[in-house]
Amino acid sequence: MKTNVAIIDVKCCNLGSFVQALDFIGLKTEIISNLRDFYNSECDAVCIPGSGNSSQLMSCLEDMGFAELLRNLSIQGFPIVGVCSGMHALFEGTEESHQNKTKDFRKTSGIGIFSGTVRKIFNGSLGVNLGWRSPFSDGHVNCLKNGSHYPDSLFYFMHGFGILYEHGVHETVDTSEIQSSDVNQKIVAMIRTQNTIGIQFHPERSGQAGLTLLRDLFEDFNG
């Protein structure tokens, strides 16, 4: 099991709740704010937590040199976990702009480990997917190899941007149906390629089911 987790602090995402959850399940956590912190650490996994603006996050990771590092780590099979906007940063780009008020959806480049662009989810009523959903329809988690099973488990989603599911993606995915009054969409709830995992929902805020998923996830990484 990976036990020593470096958590990237990009100064624009909530860290506290993620750190608390990993501490609670017995993982050692270390907050890293720059590349030197990473190279000096003894971490065996890296996390990008997030409930933030994915455009801002992608820009911060690029400026801090973490984007290139994460690309290289992913190729090497070093475990990486991105949550919510941390997951978004692992894709090719985002339409969520710096200027939310003007709704100027300029695309910002992401790290590009996963294919696809983060887009606004439903343009109609309730442009935020907020609340408890079941991302694993039969309880089975495609993205975990150890046969983890979460029947009837609900997880907390809180996002206005996400990845719309498209058939033919080469990564392993778990999807979730989301509904507004007149639109149904399927979004990527969890995605994996080798040892890089993206999670759209917030396992650190999903009660016992979330804590169990986090523990299973860190046990699931190869090596």
Binding site: C12, N14, G16, S125, L154, H202
Partner: protein
């Protein structure tokens, strides 16, 4: 149909959960750590933690409590009361809150909302709209219902939509703490296609109050804020979860 959210409203002062009637005569319910842990163990899935002293006098010990709670309960926490600057908001996020709740800071030119949205995303902000019905109009209040904002609920909803706020949490002050039901005529103010998720609170004390609101089928309704119902009966948490999420939740 997606499950409705149930949010446990925790009014806080100096280490205690407090509860008033119509935002007056606040009494202690119990020590905050004990109350919130009990609610979480009983199945409460989401919390709004509002520091009533800070709302009047500025942030005080709220942060210590948020850190403490976030180590014990792994449920979404919205924290607020007296958040007026970006640095204060950032500190609240860094100490374990998932979202911040703001009231008076919405109405002004401090730039707080824009700065938080640009860094943490607009979904991280909850607008606490506290309202009273005065001469057939629902009007906004701040500072624990003591000061009129000078705007109507309709104005407040437009401000939230314009900002792209993550959630509008509306409390009917004159019904709060009475457990006699929520004034559903307030809902007529909210446009049917309102794009911001809305949470309603104030007066919800029985299951039939909840069923009455749900029956309208408002597409903008994201959840309900529950205070005194849980304070009076811990079992109501489990009963409400069963109703919303089905058996065994």
């Amino acid at each position: 149909m997606k499950p409705m959210r149930v949010i446990s409203k925790i009014d806080y002062k100096n280490g205690y959960v407090i509860k008033g009637r119509r935002y007056e005569g606040f009494k202690k319910v119990g020590p905050v750590r004990e109350i919130v842990e009990n609610y979480y163990k009983a199945g409460a899935k989401e919390f709004v933690f509002y520091d009533c002293v800070a709302a009047l006098f500025g942030m005080s010990k709220m942060l210590e409590q948020v850190v403490d709670l976030s180590k014990r309960i792994f449920a979404p926490i919205t924290a607020g009361g007296g958040i007026r600057t970006y640095e204060q908001a950032r500190t609240v996020f860094e100490n374990g809150a998932d979202r911040i709740a703001i009231n008076s800071s919405l109405f002004g030119s401090s730039g707080l909302v824009e700065e938080v949205a640009n860094n943490y995303g607009s979904q991280s902000i909850v607008a606490m709209l506290e309202v009273k019905k005065i001469a057939d109009d629902w009007l906004l209040f701040k500072e624990l219902g003591r000061e009129p904002v000078g705007l109507s609920l309709k104005d407040g909803l437009e401000i939230c939509e314009d900002y792209g706020i993550g959630e509008t949490n509306i409390t009917a002050i004159d019904y709060d703490g009475l457990g006699s039901g929520f004034p559903t005529d307030l809902c007529e103010i909210i446009p049917e296609k309102y794009p911001v998720p809305v949470v309603l609170g104030g007066g919800i004390g029985e299951m039939h109050h909840i069923q009455k609101i749900q029956r309208f089928g408002y597409p903008w309704l994201s959840g309900l804020s529950i205070g005194s119902m849980f304070h009076k009966d811990l079992n109501s948490i489990h009963k409400l979860n069963q109703y919303v999420f089905g058996a065994n939740k």
